[in-house]
Symmetry: C2
Subunit: 125 residues, 2 copies
Amino acid sequence: MATTRDRQLVEQWRSIQDSYFRTAAAIDRALEAKFDIGLNEFEILDLVADSEESSCRMKSLGERTPMTQSAVSKVVDRLEKAGLVSRQTCADDRRSLFLELTAAGRALHSTAAVEHRALLRENLG
Amino acid sequence: MATTRDRQLVEQWRSIQDSYFRTAAAIDRALEAKFDIGLNEFEILDLVADSEESSCRMKSLGERTPMTQSAVSKVVDRLEKAGLVSRQTCADDRRSLFLELTAAGRALHSTAAVEHRALLRENLG
DNA sequence: CGTCATTCAATGACAAGGAATATTATGACG
DNA sequence: CGTCATAATATTCCTTGTCATTGAATGACG
């Protein structure tokens, strides 16, 4: 039915898709090329860096990202394998884990973040 | 460095991600449940329906969607297997193909589109 | 304390996408 | 016409994500 309204909606949607995919692809390539790390990996790293007051993370990561719990688990696997993050067992609830940046992780994050912000500025500005 | 500006950028980016993922997931689930078709499949169907003046499509689809050429090829595989679309060889350039909706494809598209638009309205409104 | 429901995280099976490559068709040009 | 560069798709291989399930720990409650 309502064709004009509908077309607008579809346009808006495509524009969101475009903005999302173009930006994500650009950032992903850049990070991959310069730091050998994907966008999702960086975003988890970023979240961990963001909550350096610490607590039992892993769980809370799931709430701050659109990724699935299992996806987060696997991203963290890779980050850990790359030596950027480490899983710490949580004394008061042994089901939980919290994450810490390693020195390497902190270093990589701080330089990668500059790149990341710059690309956001370029693509969203 | 420029923390305030950067935080804004990151916020904006997360908001785009959210808007994209939440909407995409909602539509995907709904289409999957009611029509047994995924979001990407629907979007290709939608594009084909949109260009019913016809020409050697397949190629042009790649330009109207953020999907890769190979992804498009596979989505079309599935649509064809589901009997919603058919690949027609193109007389004047036998490398190209163009796509046609089957009767079933047209039918499904027209009812699914209603749902699709409604969900866009709900999620982007 | 024992049981049961619930929560956090990891895993395995499987689907879907991307990059690189293969395949076939064209067109240009000697 | 034969060769070669290029174009449109398909295909293969690998990576990543999701869903469903599992395992372990916790808390409530009789």
